[in-house]
Symmetry: C2
Subunit: 452 residues, 2 copies
């Protein structure tokens, strides 16, 4: 149960009535995400007034949840001193996300006001590749030494834990910052004060390299039920951690990208409503063009059989059904295979099993569809048994072929180090269309003895 529309409306009424005292009281009890959502619904000139009502700590948290346009608006309206406080309070990954999207002049002002340490960190983070573990990690973690006792660890956490992204998983590093182990706050709590960290830490740490892909990192979180994962450089020095809340966002974002790629689009960086018309058109037109050109192959095949359907125009009526059924059958198979590869349920070694499975599924579905088609069409067009037999046989072959191609092509793409999503519905349908037209018309011209 998140903030209701009614409570939001009541707060907006308070803003409009300038009941700032009541508002301040109410806001200080609210969740930062809800306050950010509320600010997003206010006109820009009101945002700053409300933002300044917030207690200092809360205001930084709210700032981190705002959309980039509102962040920029606030930065442009506050003093350098207020700006310093916000930058230093932000988690380094949030600061970097912001810097990556703001215009250069604003970034310059931010970097000028940041402390040298923060500036160095921001610059270091900016160098990690997009979508890498490095780009989503944060530097705010608790690092312990193997020789510390549980009591010393608690003292350290009490003194330094306030600003850490998580204190529930602590990392144990040696003098040269190499990762030696991991210990949870639960382990610490369940052991006597005099126990030494080395004796209770787990030295079999699951970790990621800064350059690892965020999708692979997300799979590790899902497989091992992690709350946080340490990120190390090539010398196994601890440089940051990834926390599960960021992984939840990564999973949502990666799934959205896969949906968009599988519908033949270049994935958007922003949400639908925030993406401009030109960008949307640009993201879509490339694949539409490629697919339009590819579909001319089916057209050329039809062109080749012009005399066949000129002699028997009824053949044309069955083209949509054949093309749609083939495309849908293939898309079903390719969707399952592409998704299976993405969540690591399938590997390239399974190719044989997948083909064998789809051959059988295709035979079952194809036989049923072809039989029903034969019966229904025989009633619809009595006296055309020959044509209807050709359509039904073509349908059977097309479905089996489509299922097999739908399963094989994404795996083939992966083997060639291409994105399996290339072989999703749109491209696959185009390929299956061409195949089904060749099957249909060559069968028709042979079986019905039409001179082609």
């Amino acid at each position: 149960m998140s903030m209701t529309e009614e409570s939001k409306d009541r707060l907006i009424d308070l803003v409009n009535a300038r009941e700032l005292k009541t508002l301040k009281q109410e806001l200080s009890d609210m969740n930062e995400v809800d306050i950010a959502e509320l600010l997003g619904d206010l006109p820009p000139e009101r945002v700053l007034v409300i933002f300044r009502l917030l207690p200092k700590d809360l205001s930084s948290e709210v700032f981190a949840c705002l959309e980039i346009e509102e962040q920029q608006h606030i930065i442009n309206s506050i003093s350098d001193r207020e700006l310093v406080r916000i930058i230093e309070d932000l988690a380094i990954d949030d600061a970097v996300d912001m810097v990556e999207e703001l215009p250069a002049s604003v970034v310059k002002r931010i970097l000028k006001n940041a402390t040298p340490e923060t500036r160095t960190l921001i610059n270091q983070y900016l160098q990690y590749p997009d979508n890498s573990a490095g780009s989503i990690m944060t530097a705010e973690y608790v690092a312990l030494r193997p020789s510390m006792t549980v009591e010393e660890s608690f003292a350290y956490i009490r003194a330094n834990g306030v600003d850490k992204e998580t204190i529930y998983t602590c990392y144990v590093i040696n003098e040269s910052r190499k990762l030696e182990g991991v210990v949870t706050l639960k382990d610490l709590l369940m052991h006597p004060y005099e126990t030494v960290v080395r004796d209770i830490m787990d030295d079999d740490v699951i970790c990621a390299l800064t350059t690892d892909d965020q999708e692979a990192v997300a799979l590790d979180f899902s497989k091992y039920d992690l709350l946080a994962l340490p990120v190390v450089d090539r010398e196994r020095r601890l440089v940051g951690i990834v926390t599960v809340d960021d992984i939840v966002d990564v999973m949502e974002q990666e799934a959205t990208e896969d949906f968009e790629k599988m519908a033949a689009m270049v994935p958007s960086e922003k949400s639908y409503l925030k993406t401009g018309v030109l960008t949307l058109a640009k993201n879509r037109i490339v694949w539409l063009l490629v697919l339009m050109v590819s579909s001319t192959i089916s057209g050329m095949i039809l062109n080749h059989y012009e005399t066949t359907f000129a002699a028997l125009p009824l053949l044309v009526s069955f083209i949509p059904t054949l093309m749609d059924t083939g495309g849908n059958s293939g898309s079903q198979a390719s969707t399952m295979v592409i998704r299976g590869l993405a969540v690591d349920d399938l590997s390239l070694n399974d190719l044989g099993r997948v083909i064998w499975k789809e051959l059988r599924v295709g035979t079952l579905c194809g036989a049923l569809l072809a039989s029903i088609n034969f019966v229904v069409r025989s009633i619809q067009f009595p006296g055309n048994t020959g044509v209807i037999a050709v359509v039904s046989i073509s349908m059977f072959i097309t479905v089996v072929l489509a299922k097999t191609l739908g399963a094989t092509l994404p795996m083939l793409a992966k083997r060639l180090k291409l994105d399996p999503a290339l072989m999703a519905s749109p491209m696959l349908t185009t390929i299956v269309d061409a195949c089904s037209m060749v099957i249909y018309f060559s069968l028709a011209s042979h079986m019905l003895r039409i001179v082609g």
Copy 2:
């Protein structure tokens, strides 16, 4: 970096060489997920031998990670005493998942051996609807009283926390188990021992009802960056918690279901390789049939214009390009809208903005595609300017219409309380196909003055 193939092969070699001592040593240092994966690769008769080598605590954790077939094999081979230990060690949600999938005879043996408390809990959990918050929650949480001090809380957690799913978020309940607030372990750690929980707890708790849909719960985790969420009944009594590791699985599962639904399939319960051929065929055939029948509308439209293309067979060659381009344009729009609705980026209130956006994107894409088509086809088929003009105009209208329908129909489905994914590529393509054929042939028969 999870377990490598080499280390797995080495362990399998140890199993085959019966080096049980070395194996026992190595296994005790391993992660439960990796051990479960290793057991899954062993022949059934070896599984029990290795399972019994594991230290008691680890063996229950490994058991929870096993596939249902292996769980059943172990249950059938162990004594009642061993079974009791495992059942009582399992988190209640894992026990329920297992009971739901095992055959009745095995379930009977489990319930007979469970303690009365566990039996009652299992029966209670079995009643929550599939995919509800109740069905994914666990009963192993830390509950504190508002009057406890921080010191008392720590003592309580130390004494009772070992078996809890999480100790990092503690729930504050009154005598009648009503949820009063939430306090994190971090809050407890950062306050002096004498502080009373009531004074530091957050009483503005984000919680779910047992009957809430798991997808809505996942959206709350993503929005508020939660580690755990309390689940209450209609009287606001705390009955369980959902933890983020389960939500990570829910998100993966819900995304997979959406992919399958959008490719016109009934979602599978198991992974692709574990789903039988008959089930796969059954999951796919219903929609293939519906779509096959729907596609006959396009066929009937073609049938109606038989004399038109009999007079000008070239018209037929352009059918695949028109149908594919229309289908792809529409699918792009519908995919973005369906996904936007699923992740709560779009609401029904945005319908006007979405239509206006897609009208403009459609006009841009349509104009470009139609122009390129006109130029390319004029070179390919010189002297057919009339036909090519008809194709290009039809393409423009089809693309604009497809984009608009693709954006509107999923939102309309949602308004009618249907699943927006119904209006994904397959169904949309069928609708757009019919529209494009009407546009194409009515334009052709009018502009080219062919007697229809």
